[in-house]
């Protein structure tokens, strides 16, 4: 039995094509995935991302969430000094495998908020709860199933949110990227973060579940296009962002997943997975690929033949912005940007060039 978000009935009314994503019945598109993609690159689109789970951590300052997260997360929460600031991090196992990737928000020394992936939410909560019993027994871990989340993305996203949601503009006009604020609005108290998964400007809005449909309709009235998970995938891949379960999972280390920048091995801080990563030899690296030949579309699990051995595509698609196929691929370490490799597409080996993601940012193609 698939789970549903508070916006499920609205998606079905609008004729969305629904799929199972992480155990949720989610819209993959409402018509043309490419039109939805282009709406986000050129104007504003919105996504129901209520399948993702908000998890709040509350604790007293002395034995609080900061000390716990300093140990639980691979990125360092001590980078978060101003309330509202967000940080991207992996949650690792002891052996360095990636349990999940998440965003952590610092809201107060007694209150941090995590946003985790849908399919991994229960596993994450179980893992954190077990870790907390050892390290921070008074910490309270609260999954917020009473909340929904809508991402509004694109160059016109912020302006359209301000038009749709009264009181939102004064509170968020000066909000910097990767920061969030709580705003009292006619739709209840909203948590508005200037974050996203598309490579465009915009907001992710956490809203009480009972008011999610009202916010969605208000955004629709402000001419924000409804977009499905199909467009979300092509947008995030153009933006060079990993998808958990596809580009990394428990069997690989963040160092082999293009996520070394999120792992802080230099400081004295100890964290789960640190010892394993410190002694690991990095044999593979996640790189971008741009298809040079014609003859198909790059897809996950296609083999990549290189001068140093074989690799594999982890995510591949057709880029609507570049009108060319692009991919993320785990390749033997030593294969460099600019090298030409060959991807096995059915019975052919198609040439592709190794590039450094992102492919597209803020509407502009940046790899050539």
């Amino acid at each position: 039995m698939l789970k549903t978000t508070p916006l499920n009935a609205l998606h079905r009314e609008s004729g969305a094509r629904m799929v199972d994503f992480g155990g949720f019945d989610m819209p993959v598109n409402y018509g043309s995935q490419i039109d939805e993609h282009n709406a986000v690159r050129g104007d504003a689109g919105m996504f129901d991302v209520s399948h993702m789970r908000v998890v709040d951590l509350h604790g007293d300052v002395a034995e609080g969430p900061r000390a716990f997260l300093r140990y639980a997360l691979a990125n360092n929460v001590d980078k978060l000094t101003v309330p509202g600031k967000a940080l991207y991090s992996c949650l690792l196992r002891d052996d360095g495998g990636v349990l999940d990737d998440l965003i952590v928000y610092f809201l107060g020394e007694d209150f941090f908020r995590l946003v985790v992936n849908a399919a991994t939410a229960d596993k994450d909560i179980g893992w954190l709860t077990k870790l907390a019993t050892q390290r921070a027994p008074r910490l309270s871990i609260v999954p917020r199933v009473d909340l929904a989340m809508i991402a509004v993305q694109g160059p016109a996203a912020r302006e359209k949110v301000w038009r749709a949601i009264p009181n939102s503009e004064p509170a968020t006009a000066s909000l910097k990227p990767f920061n969030a604020v709580t705003v009292a609005t006619p739709f209840g108290e909203l948590f508005i973060a200037r974050t996203g998964y598309t490579g465009e400007d915009g907001f992710e809005i956490v809203v009480p579940a009972a008011r999610a449909a009202d916010v969605w309709r208000a955004l629709q009235a402000a001419a924000v296009s409804a977009c499905g998970l199909g467009a979300r995938d092509t947008l995030r891949l153009e933006a060079g962002m990993n998808l958990y379960g596809q580009d990394m999972d428990e069997s690989v280390s963040p160092l082999e997943s293009g996520l070394a920048w999120t792992v802080d091995l230099a400081s004295a801080r100890d964290f789960v997975g640190k010892r394993a990563l410190a002694s690991q030899s990095v044999a593979r690296e996640l790189k971008g690929l741009l298809l040079v030949d014609s003859g198909g579309v790059l897809r996950a699990h296609q083999a990549v033949h290189t001068s140093l051995g074989d690799g594999e595509i982890t995510s591949g698609t057709y880029s609507p912005t570049m009108k060319q196929s692009i991919a993320l691929a785990r390749l033997p370490a030593g294969i460099a940007v600019g090298d030409v490799v060959h991807v096995q597409v059915r019975d052919r080996r198609l040439a592709a060039r190794v590039v450094k993601p992102p492919f597209v940012r803020h509407g502009k193609v940046i790899v050539t």
Partner: protein, 127 residues
């Protein structure tokens, strides 16, 4: 969902039109294009190739996935719709106008074995 009455349909979602010269034209149904989503690549069989019934002989790729298109009946490929190479989205725009390939069937009577619009309509309603 649009289902022309003058066509026959396969359970793998191809449509078949019998032409007056004895050849048959093959495309994918409106139901199939909607399920695939925006098409971005089409690969067609070369004229002269002999195909067996049920043989995969064309590929359509959408943003989401690659999918085989099967020769519904045995014969020889006589044409591919080369206009689609630069414009695969034509299949999304009108799946019955944007044909994929033509076969000269070994036995023209084979066409009658396939579902008519009413039977295909029932199949996709049950799916």
């Amino acid at each position: 969902m649009d289902l022309p009455n003058d066509l026959r349909y396969t359970d793998s979602h191809e449509w078949i039109r019998a032409e007056s010269d004895g050849s048959v034209t093959i495309g994918i149904t409106d139901h199939a294009q909607a399920a695939l989503g925006d098409l971005v690549y089409v690969e067609l069989p070369k004229p002269g190739r002999s195909v067996a019934a049920g043989e995969a002989c064309a590929i359509v790729e959408s943003v989401k996935a690659a999918s085989d298109v099967y020769a519904p009946l045995a014969g020889t490929i006589v044409a591919g719709n080369d206009d689609l190479a630069g414009k695969p989205e034509a299949v999304n725009e009108n799946a019955y106008a944007a044909w994929l390939f033509r076969i000269q069937p070994a036995d023209a009577d084979d066409v009658r074995k396939f579902m008519d619009a009413a039977a295909y309509s029932k199949l996709i309603a049950e799916a």
